[in-house]
């Protein structure tokens, strides 16, 4: 502090004398150098003296503490200042953002080929599972306040096969006030409950079937989100998003304006100190343009399936609910978390059957839905167990007459899955998990699955959301 001020004063003095100095003789220069040297020495001495006095004040303060109570208060005040000063780091590194790295990996053992999609969902994304030892996605997170108005967050997913993808890269306002929060860039949509959570915060190795089939695990958007929190005692939050709609169920299009829209509302409260809950509704709307799916089974029974293309409107409504309980509200020891979500999607448009050969287009509409119910129980510190049930309904499609003999409209099968997990977290930063699942999502191909997983986090560890 002192040093900086004196140094800048010296520099200022130097600069103001510069024109004269350049005109001066060598002898003058020599004397100026000596003067500067003397100045420097005297300031250094003074700084040393000041530091010494500060130390003396400190120790004097400590002695006084023991002597009298009146002196004690002042002593503490003198002691405070150096403590406060030491908290401020100097140098370029002081403004480095918070950096976190998540390391994850799984071992998977499956009885069936994971490339087979859930029955009735061949035109949806098939997230599948990886067999054997796998490096999961490592996630690099960087976050910091940009200035008084904005905060920036970037999450880069490092793919095990190489390559980096941008999972999140958004800017959040911090100065709007009035309960308003604006976010823009690439973010996970605020709809539903699980959608905003990053993979390392999931309670199971995989997402519920309904998230895998209807959202390709998670709905990420490029766009902007506005949320408003009501000034009420109970938590009421309303949100709206406009996005590009690049991911499933939308498809990347070249157009002006918004490609997708989301509306959501959350209401939440506590009941005493032990219970808390949150309920929400969400609406999502987008449009698909030539959304191509390969390997879709058909009525003629083409081996390996056919490639279809869908164009049309997609509307999804969702309900989510979570309830948490912890004795005395102390989540460190024990807690129970029960959550459930339901999504229902209606798609209306036109389907082109068998792009490779037949290439027949006609109207197509279907309503798909799905839900899950899961409970997680931390029965002692560091140990949790969980149970989840998933169910999907592929719906009965109405198919235009041209494709009535080609496209399967009614699968008459509901994919289901039951998963149990046990995890152990030696600390807040590490977690080891075992998961067993009985996967009945593919008709006639029941699958017993086993997963082992580790999730470790290094560096800055941001706070988790509810």
């Amino acid at each position: 502090m002192f040093k900086k001020t004196y140094l800048s004063a010296t520099l200022a003095a130097l600069l103001s004398h510069l024109p004269y100095a350049s005109a001066a003789t060598n002898g003058d220069l020599q004397s100026i150098r000596e003067q500067i040297q003397q100045l420097k020495q005297s300031y250094e001495q003074r700084i040393a003296q000041l530091e010494q006095r500060l130390q003396q004040a400190e120790s004097a303060g400590k002695r006084a503490e023991a002597v009298a109570e009146q002196a004690q208060a002042t002593a503490q005040q003198t002691v405070v200042s150096p403590a406060a000063a030491s908290g401020t780091n100097a140098g370029e590194g002081a403004f480095n953002p918070a950096i976190s790295l998540i390391l994850g990996g799984t071992y998977g053992s499956l009885q069936q080929d994971p490339a087979v999609p859930a029955t009735g969902f061949a035109m949806n994304p098939n997230m599948g599972h990886a067999q054997g030892f796998n490096l999961g996605e490592s996630e690099l997170g960087i976050a910091a306040n940009i200035d008084v108005n904005y905060r920036g967050v970037a999450t880069l997913a490092l793919d095990p096969a190489g390559g980096v993808s941008v999972e999140n890269a958004y800017v959040q306002t911090s100065a709007l006030g009035n309960g308003l929060n604006l976010k823009f860039g690439r973010y996970f949509s605020g709809m539903g409950y699980l959608n905003e959570q990053h993979a390392h915060a999931w309670d199971f190795v995989d997402q519920p079937l309904v998230y895998a089939a209807l959202w390709g695990n998670q709905l990420g958007e490029d766009g902007l989100q506005v949320k408003w929190l009501a000034p009420t005692d109970i938590f009421i939050e309303l949100g709206a998003e406009l996005g590009r709609g690049r991911g499933f169920p939308g498809s990347d299009r070249v157009k002006n304006g918004a490609g997708s829209g989301v509306l959501f509302a959350h209401i939440a409260d506590d009941i005493g100190i032990e219970h808390s809950w949150r309920a929400g509704v969400s609406l999502h709307q987008t449009r698909a343009e030539n959304r191509i799916s390969d390997g879709v089974p058909d009525l003629p029974g083409t081996v390996g399936g056919v490639s279809n293309s869908f164009s049309g409107d997609s509307q999804t409504a969702g309900l989510d609910f979570v309830w948490k309980y912890s004795p005395n509200g102390n989540i460190r020891d024990r807690y129970v978390k029960v959550q459930s979500e339901y999504f229902r999607r209606k798609e209306i448009g036109s389907l082109t059957y068998d792009l490779a050969t037949a290439n027949i287009a006609d109207s197509y509409s279907v309503t798909q839905s799905g839900w899950y119910l899961q409970g997680v129980y931390q029965f002692m510190p560091h140990w949790r167990t969980g149970l989840r049930y998933d169910r999907l309904d592929p719906g009965i499609a109405s198919i235009g007459p041209l494709n009535a003999g080609n496209v399967i409209g009614n699968y008459a099968f509901n994919p289901t899955r039951t998963s149990v997990m046990l995890d152990y977290s030696p600390s807040e930063f590490s977690r080891l998990r075992l998961q067993l699942a009985r996967d009945n999502s593919r008709q006639g191909l029941p699958d017993n699955q086993l997963f082992l997983q580790y999730i470790m986090s290094l560096g800055a560890h941001g706070a988790h959301t509810y």
Partner: protein, 298 residues
């Protein structure tokens, strides 16, 4: 739809706007102190209970809703609330209480911190860069904190400056008298050897001269295993302690295990206001703490 709107309007209208300041206190001790210093000028919400581990709180929506309307957030700071407060403040959409603004108060800034780690490594457990955050166990710390907090109240609500100044003066007088009483009562505790379950008592030790032999947690925040407790037990044979201390929110089993085998007293301290029935305010918190320590030391 119309009904919902009407309900929303009604809720918005029904908000209490009588008190000058809406205060969001992170821990019960700061709620109690704010209450003493502001009186009826503040309506105070306490975010955590005495039986909750303040390190491990979830950023529940209810906390976000309360922070939305707060004019002042009063917390310990020093990273104690690191796992939840940043989310609460960010999601609240309330720019008045962001860190660095006048609506954000950290008590730890007003006191001299102890146990500042020489190195920062997660291998050392839950260490806090700015020092041990459990500052409320030394009653002397409340004087500089009250002073700083009262100044902040005045800054936010200058119309009531004299009100705050009078209350501060009254508190200081009462607290100094109480400190004298507590220090007299606790005089026999000086040099008493103790074991702690969690490293949460350096300020208490510093104040009353208790001598900490060791902690039951192998690393701060890490649950002790049976094997580790066995090690502590053999350590206690060499360096006997009078009692084992734990905070009200901590699991009783590890201290009871040690207490039974080492034949020492297991003392549960209220740790903050509301930690037990007797500790119903700041004064009785320390009355009860000292009474329990004296009983344990016998």
């Amino acid at each position: 739809m119309r009904k919902i709107l009407a309900l929303l309007l009604l809720l918005a209208w029904a908000l209490p706007a009588h008190a000058a300041l809406n205060v969001f206190a992170c821990e019960p001790e700061w709620a109690a102190l704010t209450q003493i210093l502001a009186g009826d000028q503040a309506s105070i919400y306490t975010a955590t209970g005495a039986l909750q581990d303040p390190h491990r709180i979830e950023a529940r929506p209810s906390l976000i809703a309360k922070a939305r309307r707060a004019n002042l957030v009063v917390c310990t700071g020093a990273e104690l609330e690191m796992a939840w407060l940043p989310v609460v403040l960010r999601e609240s959409g309330n720019s008045a209480i962001h860190p660095g603004s006048s609506g954000y108060f950290e008590a730890a800034n007003a006191v001299h911190m102890l146990d500042i780690p020489a190195r920062l490594d997660r291998a050392d457990g839950d260490v806090h860069a700015r020092g041990n955050p459990h500052i409320q166990t030394d009653a002397r710390n409340f004087l500089p904190i009250a002073d700083a907090l009262s100044q902040r109240l005045t800054q936010l609500d200058p119309a009531n400056t004299t009100h705050y100044q009078n209350r501060l003066a009254a508190f200081q007088q009462q607290w100094r008298a109480a400190l004298k009483k507590w220090e007299r009562q606790a005089a026999p505790l000086k040099g008493t050897t103790i074991v702690v379950q969690h490293k949460g008592f350096p300020y208490l030790n510093n104040w009353l001269g208790l001598q900490e032999i060791t902690a039951l947690e192998p690393k701060p925040g890490m649950e002790p295993s049976a094997a580790y407790l066995g090690q502590v037990l053999s350590q206690l044979k060499l360096h006997p302690a009078k009692m084992v201390l734990r905070a009200a929110y901590q699991d009783a089993r590890p201290s009871q295990w040690i207490a039974q085998r080492a034949h020492i007293a297991a003392v549960e301290l209220p740790y903050t206001v509301g930690g037990n029935d007797a500790a119903s305010n700041l004064f009785s918190l320390f009355d009860d703490t000292i009474a329990r320590l004296l009983t344990g030391a016998q």
